[in-house]
């Protein structure tokens, strides 16, 4: 026992010593990013920027909600220059709490469509995540499909699969439905969904798509890149994409995006980095690593993603997803959508 303890004591000492070292370097040519977009999706792009410009990028990852609390707690001493998330609602929330600063950039305004950025320039979309309807081609005639709202009709009783309402993608979908249809109509639709469920809600989109393939249900709502990952491995996966609401408001999209922090010490460099990220080359790369859609319309799309055809996206400003999210969550609770 004593030597186990001395071993542990030595390990503790070693760990404590390394604890003194990691103060973030404040060299002029370093940017610090707090990112909810995970490492394997951002590091390749960050590395490309460093190779091109010599500017080093240090980053830490975590849930957006946690990173926001961290920014708030650190205040003016925060080392962060940029906050990056995979959901517009969190960017809206961060801007509401005064954690992001307005940026004026002609390049960003040209490259990022107006509905995918904050009207005040506090955050900008960098990739689109389309959330649409998926169906089994064996059991569903795509002519029977039209809108998210129509999935509430009795024809789909016992045939619908949904992911849990805890996931932010569904919260923003319902928030955008509220923005378009109002609370009453949206609540009716959500109640209809719940009544049509084939099985309890799923914890993730991949499991939901697998359930459609296995025949547990016939239709469902999911983000396209989860589908992309599956068909990349199994091209004969028996589930197809249907672009929802093409005649009534467009497919719901969320964004992965970023904003410059209120207390950034490198605002110019941070803006330049955002501008670079919105350029066509970086855009293709940024979106393609996760089979998402670039926000910049001139950027090339991944071939598999391209094969699903083009679609009309919803043009309501993404800020609405954040503003209406608490209402959406409460609506889903009332409707019994777990």
């Amino acid at each position: 026992m004593p030597h186990v303890f001395s071993l542990l004591a030595a390990a503790t000492l070693a760990a404590a010593l390394t604890a003194v070292a990691p103060l973030p370097a404040v060299a002029a040519e370093t940017l610090v990013v707090y990112s909810a977009r995970n490492e394997q999706l951002i590091k390749p792009v960050f590395d490309a920027y460093t190779r091109e410009t010599g500017i080093a990028i240090r980053f830490t990852t975590g849930d957006a909600a946690v990173l926001i609390e961290r920014l708030a707690a650190e205040g003016k001493n925060s080392p962060a220059d940029l906050l990056m998330t995979v959901d517009a609602g969190e960017l809206w929330n961060a801007s509401q709490r005064g954690l992001l600063q307005p940026v004026k950039s002609a390049t960003l305004e040209r490259n990022v469509p107006a509905h995918l950025r904050d009207p005040d320039g506090r955050w900008f979309g960098l990739s689109m995540r389309a959330r649409t309807i998926f169906y089994s081609p064996q059991r569903v005639d795509p002519k029977a499909l039209s809108t998210y709202e129509a999935l509430a009709q009795p024809a789909w009783k016992g045939r619908l699969c949904l992911r849990t309402s805890k996931k932010v993608y569904n919260q923003s979908l319902v928030a955008m439905m509220i923005a378009r249809d109002g609370e009453t109509k949206t609540e009716q639709a959500v109640r209809g969904w719940v009544a049509n469920l084939a099985t309890d809600v799923f914890p993730n989109d991949t499991a939901l798509l697998e359930a459609i393939a296995a025949g547990q249900c016939d239709v469902g709502i999911a983000n396209t890149y989860y589908y992309g990952r599956i068909v990349k491995e199994r091209p004969d996966f028996p589930v197809r994409v249907f672009w929802a609401n093409q005649a009534s408001g467009g497919v719901h999209v969320n964004i992965s995006g970023a904003g410059v922090t209120q207390h950034s010490r490198n605002v110019t460099a941070a803006v330049r980095f955002l501008e670079w990220l919105s350029g066509p080359r970086a855009q293709s790369h940024f979106a393609a690593v996760n089979m998402e859609y670039p926000v910049n319309p001139t950027a090339a799309v991944d071939p598999i993603v391209k094969s699903w055809g083009s679609f009309e996206p919803s043009l309501i400003n993404m800020a609405e997803a954040g503003r209406l999210q608490p209402a959406a969550v409460q609506l889903m609770d009332r409707a019994g959508y777990r």
Binding site: A19, A65, R70, N77, T164
Partner: protein
């Protein structure tokens, strides 16, 4: 040492130890100042009644089933001889090394409608054949039981082995048969250990988010995250966490009071517990029972994980993984050391502590284990960042532009403080039940011989506590290997561990790619578990 001096150091020690757990609680109390009335009204009407029932049910089922399973396995291994016993003795601890959320994902993948087992059943037998749904309260209770029973098993086994043969012999010499002697004499002796194990299980169940999220059960924890992530109300989330923490403290305190009335200290821990040799059907049944638990909780899920990991290893596995694994082990080992030392101080300070406030502080120090990790991390982070800001202002005023940038909240110092807040309970449980088995008469005898204070600790208590300390170290170590939210939030830039890798993959739903770091967490955790588990067997 005089009793007044003793009393003051004990109170001070408890206050210091309670501080890391109290800071998030204070953040939570401060959060009450922020208005979250609308969120609360909504939660009370639509969410809390349902999730409160779920939470209580889950606690009851998981608490009862881990108590039964853990104690039964401990009794089987400690008091019987059957084929494979020596291997089971340590192997039954292995589920501890598997992160609970990972086990939940494996179970969901394997047992859901679209999974391989049900697919095969529908093809082989009948298209309408269904298994009970794994995404359910029952499924979550099953997974949590399989993950958490080792707490009870380990503590009960250490206690049984420490009780030795004397109590059993005495009971049998008074005419009780072996089974009655077990029930009436040995079981009460191990009750503090079982209770300590179940208390840990319940706290971990209360704080769990990974399992219930993966298996779709709404509990108080998921309601907390819904208020925070969904309705952007960190205030409501912290307030709910504070209530959860207070309920947990009260429960722990009540349990202690109920137990405190009776004395469970063994008079003379001596003699090795005799193991009865099982034969024929009984031996087969014993091996089959232990083997089934091990297979379902560890072997089969690991086989699935390894298969997934293998698929992605060609792309994902690179030299960085050595560094990830090294950091995970170093962090867990040093964290375990800090926590066990703190638990020892905690146990001593509480020993014989009669003052209510000191007792209360001692209990509060361990409630961090019942609070969801992310909420605890944020609650601790905010005051640390504020302290850092205050120090920075002083430093700037003093040194002007030459002042260095402080970054207390993003160093291992913050990490260790948070680990202490979260895991003191895990270290304190075994240490306290170990201390309880050392009778006060022994201290008095030592005092008569002039052995007091630090010498008494070193020469008398430490040898008697070895088993408990090793158990505490194992439990904290494997918990820290798996720990995610605190490490994620407080790690220095670029500091990646295996658990952080799991997060990176799982954050975008790439569960199969998360298998590789998960397998390595288990692999890196298993060796120390086996080594230490053997120590427990030797020294108990």
């Amino acid at each position: 040492m005089g009793s007044v001096a003793r009393r003051s150091w004990a109170g001070a020690a408890l206050a210091v130890l309670a501080l890391p757990a109290l800071l998030p609680l204070l953040s939570a109390v401060a959060a009450w100042a922020a208005p979250a009335g609308e969120v609360w009204a909504h939660q009370l009407q639509y969410v809390l009644p349902r999730v409160a029932v779920n939470t209580v049910l889950l606690l009851l089922v998981v608490g009862t089933s881990t108590a039964l399973l853990g104690t039964a396995l401990a009794w089987l291994v400690a008091a019987h001889e059957f084929p494979g016993r020596r291997v089971f003795a340590w192997a039954l601890l292995l589920p501890l090394a598997v992160p609970a959320y990972v086990l939940a994902v494996v179970f969901a993948g394997a047992l859901d409608y679209a999974g391989p087992l049900q697919g095969w059943l529908r093809q082989a037998f009948h298209a309408g054949l269904r298994l009970p749904p794994i995404r359910s309260l029952g499924g979550a209770a099953l997974v949590l039981t399989l993950c958490l029973y080792p707490y009870v098993y380990l503590l009960a086994r250490v206690a049984l082995e420490a009780a030795g043969s004397r109590p059993l012999e005495a009971a049998q010499s008074l005419g009780l048969d072996r089974d009655t002697a077990l029930r009436r004499v040995l079981l009460p002796l191990v009750r503090p250990a079982v209770a300590a194990g179940v208390a840990l299980v319940c706290m971990e169940t209360l704080a769990d988010f990974g399992v219930v999220a993966a298996l779709n059960v709404d509990t108080l924890t998921t309601a907390i995250y819904r208020a925070w992530y969904g309705m952007y109300s960190i205030a409501a989330a912290l307030q709910m966490a504070a209530v959860l923490g207070l309920v947990a403290s009260a429960a722990v305190w009540l349990e202690r009071r109920a137990r405190g009335a009776r004395g469970y200290a063994a008079q003379r821990p001596a003699g090795e517990l005799p193991r009865r040799r099982l034969r024929g059907g009984a031996a087969l049944a014993a091996t089959a029972f232990a083997g089934t638990v091990l297979a379902v909780a560890f072997v089969l899920p690991m086989a699935q994980l390894v298969a997934w990991a293998w698929k992605h290893a060609a792309v994902d596995l690179d030299a960085r993984y050595w560094a990830f694994a090294g950091r995970s082990v170093a962090l867990a080992a040093s964290g375990a050391f800090v926590v066990v030392i703190a638990a020892l101080v905690h146990g001593y300070a509480l020993r014989g502590e009669r003052r209510w406030w000191a007792n209360g502080l001692g209990r509060m120090a361990t409630t961090g284990y019942a609070i969801p990790g992310t909420v605890l991390a944020v609650g601790l982070f905010a005051p640390l960042a504020a302290l850092n800001g205050w120090l920075q202002d002083r430093l700037d005023a003093l040194l002007g532009a030459a002042a260095p940038q402080l970054f207390l909240q993003g160093t291992l110092l913050a990490m260790f403080l948070a680990y202490l807040a979260r895991f003191l309970a895990v270290g304190a449980g075994p240490v306290e039940s170990g201390l309880e088995r050392i009778h006060r008469h022994l201290d008095e005898a030592a005092a008569l011989l002039g052995v007091r204070g630090v010498r008494r600790l070193y020469r008398l208590h430490l040898p008697l506590l070895r088993g408990s300390l090793a158990a505490a170290a194992i439990l904290v170590f494997v918990d820290l290997m798996k720990e995610l939210p605190i490490t994620l939030m407080t790690r220095p830039f670029g500091f990646e561990t295996l658990a952080v890798r799991v997060f990176e993959m799982a954050a975008e739903g790439e569960w199969q790619r998360a298998a590789l770091p998960s397998v390595l967490i288990v692999a890196a955790g298993v060796i120390p578990v086996v080594l230490l588990a053997r120590r427990v067997a030797h020294v108990a």
